[in-house]
Symmetry: C2
Subunit: 200 residues, 2 copies
């Protein structure tokens, strides 16, 4: 790259102009449907990072954790004790621990009823539906029903849906979609175990 | 997918067996070099989500923010007031705002000196080097020097490096690499502006 002062300044000016142009064109405010999917790490973690921002702004946060993550304890402790947050964990563990489809369907339905109440209440600025993509992948809930509710969300509400295997129609419905792609993982290659602060 | 109870149970059992096998093989603990890169959102946000976990476990956290993000205020407020966290923001703004390469190099150097002191101190369980990839992409710091320090980090220290354009050698040195890939972004397409709780 060119590093002489003049080229550098020109490059910086072009960047700044582009940034300002985009910013000026973006004038709408809207409750977003945000999807984090992919086989990599950071889907729920980034959702909870946004959730932290929402609390930081004094706004109200709702969380429904559809698949109880035994490893999510540290942030769960934090959010559960936060003043502006309602956190609900449903589910008896990972799918492959219950080994009972009817039970998993009932659990998903329970979580979805709570999520619908939260959405309808208009009490929240953001609602995180953690691992909902996985629930839909396994067809524990009808996609049509879920999308109808998400698409008719209140104007000011951001909804964040996480989990692998986001359905194509979920991606179509979303405003903002990020795929967390696994490039390199230590547990497989180096046989390093899950560690506090990283995984839970 | 097969949803009859017997197939379901067999699938669940196979999954559980695979999960247990991997878990049993993974016995090592190690301070990880973690890289979040890509053109999508969630790189810093997921790093701060992990940082929240670290604090939740009562462990000490260090953060050096190499490129001052005017938009990061909500989580910055939270972490700066947290008891177990040292948060340092260097830099006078985005590259395209300073328009002065020598100043940007000096700023990067200042942040790197602080980062090195944090790493050498052995006081931290996790250190987040926010936007270091961008610093290296612009060659504000020599990659050789940075990698030598990261590779000789203390055993128990996790280092998280964020930013677009991670260098190939950074990826090679890392234990865990996730690419946040932009699938769909509302600001470009729908001209929706940055909103509190989402972007800052």
């Amino acid at each position: 790259m060119k590093t002489d002062p003049e080229s550098y300044q020109q490059m910086a000016q072009r960047r700044k102009a582009g940034f300002e142009r985009k910013k000026a064109a973006a004038t709408r405010e809207k409750g977003l449907l945000i999807v984090h999917t992919g086989n990599g790490k950071g889907k729920s973690t980034a959702a909870f990072g946004m959730a932290l921002r929402v609390l930081g702004h004094g706004m109200r946060l709702g969380v429904v954790q559809f698949i109880k993550g035994a490893l999510h304890t540290a942030e769960r402790d934090f959010f559960e004790s936060a003043a502006n947050c309602d956190w609900v964990t449903v589910g008896d563990g990972y799918t492959w621990n219950t080994q009972d489809r009817a039970a998993d369907v009932a659990t998903a339905r329970k979580g979805w009823e709570i999520a619908q109440q939260m959405i309808a209440s208009k009490n929240y600025r953001m609602i995180v539906l953690d691992e909902l993509n996985v629930v839909l992948k396994y067809e524990y809930l009808p996609l049509d029903e879920v999308l109808a509710v998400l698409n008719s969300r209140p104007d000011a509400l951001h909804i964040v849906v996480t989990g692998r295997h986001a359905q194509e129609r979920m991606i179509e419905a979303a405003d903002l979609v990020t795929e967390m792609r696994l490039v390199k993982h230590p547990y497989r290659v180096q046989q390093i175990k899950a560690q506090p602060g990283i995984e839970f």
